[in-house]
Amino acid sequence: MDSGKSSLINLLASHFLIISSYIASFMRHTARMGYLIVNTLGQLKYSLKMKAAIVNEMKTSGLDSLPLVMAASAFIGGETVLQTEFQFSGIVPLRYLGMAVCKALTTELCPVIVAFVVSSRVSTSYAAEIGTMKTGEQIDALSCLSLNPLRYLAVPKLVACVIMLPILVVFGELVAFLASIITAVLAIDITLHSYLQGLRLFFHPADLLVGIFKSSVFGAIICFTGVYCGFNTDGGAAGVGRSTTTAVVVSAILILAFDFLIAYLLK
């Protein structure tokens, strides 16, 4: 029974150590991410001199994601109409269908889904690019030449993402509304006039503006996660693969968390 007691204590201690190591690594990552954010924001004043780099980043991360965003938004628009019609079946009259679809798309669905889709493309490419640079020791070379790597790598990406993501969300909402109109007219027993009336019913510009504000916060999240995972790459080519995976997953969860936070704070 002596060995039984000590093995129970060993079991509890090993579980406690696992949990506490998760908590410790979470706090360490939060601290390092905070360090990265504060240092990047401190270098923002040099962004006015790097206009060419910023415009280049805007093209590669924003403009080249536009077809993807429009395709994803078209699917989301059609899907929302079908689902809302099923939920309203028999309980709520169909003249409120447009109102429900408009509110769902502008406040929650379009910013979040567009941010997911853009983060899958943008934060992986940032993490892969900076991870490859770290593996080739180019970031250490930059610091040896007394150039701040955050100033030349992170600041253009941050400004580009924060500016381009609201623009992408606006285009996405346009395509989503068009797709919802087409789906409503073709697949549901509702007239175009009553659907468009429903879209205008109880519409507030505040909903739209909150969605746009949310999406620039999502842009900052996408940029910071990609850059953070890129800077913390280790282990060669396999490490680059691991850091791209981590970048996508962490940015997805942070997007969901900040979506809830902003909606709750601005209610």
């Binding site: 899907e79 509110k103 929650e108 979040v112 889904i113 899958s120 992986t124 080519a237 969901l256 968390a257």
Partner: protein, 260 residues
């Protein structure tokens, strides 16, 4: 005039090449799927992959389902702020949103990152380090040991993902509704129970399973045909997440139309 003609030529070329490469990719993916569905399975590798890709993703699914629950309640309160609805309608609509619409879509997109990118980076690393050719040289079938095991593991873990995400999302949405809207737990759950239809559960399970299988297949496809060193791994991962996100949203519409 000549500059305008050049620009128009470039736009036409770009459109044509986009269509051609997407049709090529879709065809190549379909051929890959047919090829892998003809191979045999290896039971031990399937169970191992169920742990590595399935069980280890459950914590992320759980974390994101908490936020899915919160988002569902915020969407619902936005929708019905100006309509006078009874409290039991909240249970009905929230449960339908979580089981059929927001739950599978958001969980599928998160799994695109967790499962798809992970499988793509593993298999593309094996391809670039020539380990897949080494397996073929040893007359072992890489399709059977590497790819089929991952795809079947994600197929079998699909209902598990659905169950975990739905449970945690419903619980968190009920707690959040009680805290912010003052809807009691009894009203919420009775509304949910009285309006439950089998269509809802079937659609949720089919959606989550097909999303996770799509993630696995697209990840295996881009990893298997990766090339180009360390940059090739990054390119394969990025293409995987982008393609599987689009395919998930497309499948969402197709499954909704088929099953509703």
């Amino acid at each position: 005039m000549k500059a305008l003609k050049n620009k128009a030529d470039k736009v036409a070329e770009w459109t044509g090449s986009v269509f051609r490469t997407s049709v090529e990719n879709i065809g190549s993916l379909a051929l890959f799927f047919i090829r892998l569905s003809r191979e045999k399975w290896h039971r031990g590798m399937i169970v191992e992959q169920m742990y590595v890709t399935g069980v280890k993703s459950l914590s992320f699914v759980a974390m994101s389902s908490v936020f899915v629950g919160f988002i569902t309640i915020m969407t619902y309160t936005n929708l019905t702020a100006r309509l006078n609805v009874e409290p039991f309608i909240m249970g009905m609509m929230v449960s339908r949103l979580v089981f059929m619409e927001l739950g599978p879509t958001l969980v599928g997109l998160i799994l695109a990152g967790k499962i798809g990118a992970k499988i793509a980076s593993e298999i593309s690393f094996m391809r670039i380090a020539e380990q897949i050719d080494a397996l073929t040289c040893l007359s072992l079938n890489p399709m059977r040991y590497l790819i089929n095991s991952r795809v079947v593991a994600c197929l079998l873990m699909g209902p598990v993902f659905f169950a975990t995400s739905s449970l945690i999302a419903i619980l968190s949405s009920q707690v959040f509704a009680e805290l912010t809207c003052g809807v009691s737990a009894a009203d919420f759950y009775s509304g949910m129970k009285n309006s439950f239809q089998l269509t809802i559960a079937v659609m949720g399970i089919v959606k989550v399973t097909s999303f996770s299988v799509t993630n696995a297949i697209v990840g295996c496809y881009y990893g298997y045909y990766a090339s180009g060193g360390a940059l090739g791994i990054g390119k394969a991962t990025r293409n995987t997440v982008v393609a599987s996100s689009l395919l998930i949203l497309l499948e969402n519409i197709i499954l909704t139309t088929l099953l509703l």
